[in-house]
């Protein structure tokens, strides 16, 4: 187990390194870094000063070195608009995004897994057909459109739910639903196919041969095994959710990281944007690592993987 963890940790570190390198290079190579880093409407002297500050006249690898040094010490830039360090802003907004993602994930699993199991156990029947339709719709409707339509219905026409902000539990319902809908469909699809695979496996066959009641076969033998790929996907999706939530957060003015990113672009606050991208990517790497470890805990076979 320890070897496994160490190895995965190594990969994670490598990925973080490559991530920062990529972002660093992209900025340096494709645009004029000074213009980006400067406030909109900066004068020539200000630009020159920024160039000096960033060390843009120095060799690339020295620049990268200071970039990395900053990254590792938590200095991810300074936002113009808010006049605050990016890291602080990120940290302040992160809990909101996490909350939204958690509720949306819970929703997607609560809807996705049971409907997937139902579709698999009743494969070929009306239930399965309904499930397929649900999956298709979910995967095809853009989340922000769902959000907008929901606002139309529940805020404008019915007046039941608030359309923006994050004050009360009521505020989280619509954004979570809009965000989670796509993933509910994805989870349902995966649960269904995973369940079908498992139901056709040799150990399920043996379980039936043992004379176990079908309910026990499904609930005990099939369920846990079928869930493994779904959990993996859910873990990866959680982080994707946080990052894809940009549009949903914008629609609902939900004060999370996505909204922060939107503000960054709207106000041409490049350091903010760059910082968020760096942090977002790093978060994915870290979460992937944790998911891998969790996977090993759940499935005893993985631990032996050298």
């Amino acid at each position: 187990m320890r070897r496994f963890v160490t190895k995965r940790l190594g990969y994670a570190v490598l990925s973080l390194f490559l991530l920062s390198l990529t972002i660093f290079l992209l900025v340096r190579v494709t645009g004029d870094p000074a213009a980006l880093m400067a406030e909109p409407g900066a004068s020539a002297e200000q630009l020159a000063a920024i160039r000096k500050n960033l060390g843009l006249d120095q060799p690339l690898w020295i620049q990268y070195g200071s970039f990395m040094a900053n990254f590792l010490t938590g200095d991810l830039g300074h936002s113009f608009y808010y006049n605050a360090p990016v890291l602080d802003l990120y940290a302040a907004r992160l809990p909101y995004s996490l909350l939204l993602a958690a509720v949306a994930m819970a929703f997607s699993l609560l809807i996705g897994i049971p409907s997937g199991i139902l579709a698999a156990v009743r494969v070929g029947t009306m239930w399965d057909g309904a499930g397929k339709v649900f999956a298709l719709l979910g995967l095809s409707m853009p989340s922000f459109w769902i959000g907008l339509v929901m606002i139309l219905f529940f805020s404008v026409y019915l007046g039941w739910l608030p359309s923006s902000g994050a004050g009360t539990p009521l505020h989280v319902i619509m954004p979570a639903f809009a965000l989670g809908w796509y993933f509910a469909a994805a989870h349902m699809r995966l649960t269904r196919s995973s369940m079908l695979d498992v139901l056709g496996s040799e150990y399920v066959k043996l379980a039936r041969l043992k004379g176990l009641p079908e309910s026990l076969v499904v609930a005990k033998h099939a369920f846990k095994n079928a869930l493994i790929p779904v959990i993996t996907l859910a873990g990866i999706n959680l982080v994707i959710m946080i990052n894809v939530a940009v549009v949903v957060e914008t629609v609902f003015a939900w004060p999370g990281i996505g909204r922060l990113l939107y503000e960054g672009i709207s106000f041409r606050d490049f350091p903010l944007v760059q910082g968020i991208v760096l942090l977002g990517g790093s978060m994915i790497v870290v979460v992937n690592l944790l998911v891998d470890i969790l996977y090993a805990v759940v499935d005893p076979r993985i631990r032996l993987e050298a």
Binding site: S201, E202, Y203, K205, L206, A207, R208, L209, K210, G211, L212, P213, L216, K220, H221, K224, N225, D299, P300, R301, L304
Partner: protein, 344 residues
Amino acid sequence: MTNGALLELVKVSTHYVSSRGARVVRAVDAVSLSVDAGETLGIVGESGSGKSTLALTIMRLLPPAAHIVSGQMLLDGEDLLQKPPAEMRHIRGKRIAMILQDPMASLNPLFTIGDQVAEPIRVHEAATRTSAWRRARELLRAVRIPSPEQRVLQYPHEMSGGMRQRIVGAIGISCEPRLLIADEPTTSLDLTIQAQYLNLLRELQRAHGLALIFITHNLGIVAKMCDTIAVMYAGRIVEYGPVRDIFRSPAHPYTQALLNSIPRLGDPGQRLAAIDGQPPDPANPPAGCAFAPRCMRALARCHVEAPPESTPGDGRTARCWLATPDLSHVAHLPHNPAEASALS
């Protein structure tokens, strides 16, 4: 067929029907056989001959596309085909048990050995967790697994192949069934382990008075373990009877070809005798005898008309025109192909 047999199949047929009803595959075609308590029956055949389908038919655990279209399956005189699903479920595992071919795939990787061995006991005998697990440890001891107290808490991937197969065997006998069906139980084992495992099965059989049905393509195992043999080809039983008699003088050319294809020691110049050709497409069987296209002794009649069951000897049946009474003078084929060609 003997009366008072433990299991008796009378002209059982299982067909696979494609979803649009266009293709019908006769996986099991009018099969009749019987097994007594304490007896070991070997079912032999190539892949696709229908042996595994036959086993699943007996257990009535066929996939949705398959239907048992005719016949009777009598267990202690009761017809299994008439039983409602709930009752059949109680029979599975408790009165008839089955072991599958690949022990690694048959065991659920996420549950402990103890859990999986104790499970049928808890379901069929309503045992408590403690007593079921105690029995599980005893069973592991009975199948010669060392330190069962530790093993019950381990997972399938922590065991060797031989141990896994024993565990599957333990699961099989856990509720003391009358009949155990073993589908190619040694195919995935090393040769050295095979012999040990077979001995174990024989011991268990003697200790519990089990009837065994052995499904295999390995005639050596049949010779060692079985009292009776049934040879299957294209879903039909083409020869059936006591092992000794059939090995000495097979009535069906397919049986003879199988026996010939076993390499013999001490004969360095001998070429391996394979059977030419391929088994027939199950959805499109040839007219007449299914083996005729590959048969060295086929008559014109064989290609046109399928032979009925005949009895070339005591307790023996065969489906071959060469074995029917009007051609009985060539019924007993000599074991040596040279003599055979001298005869014809």
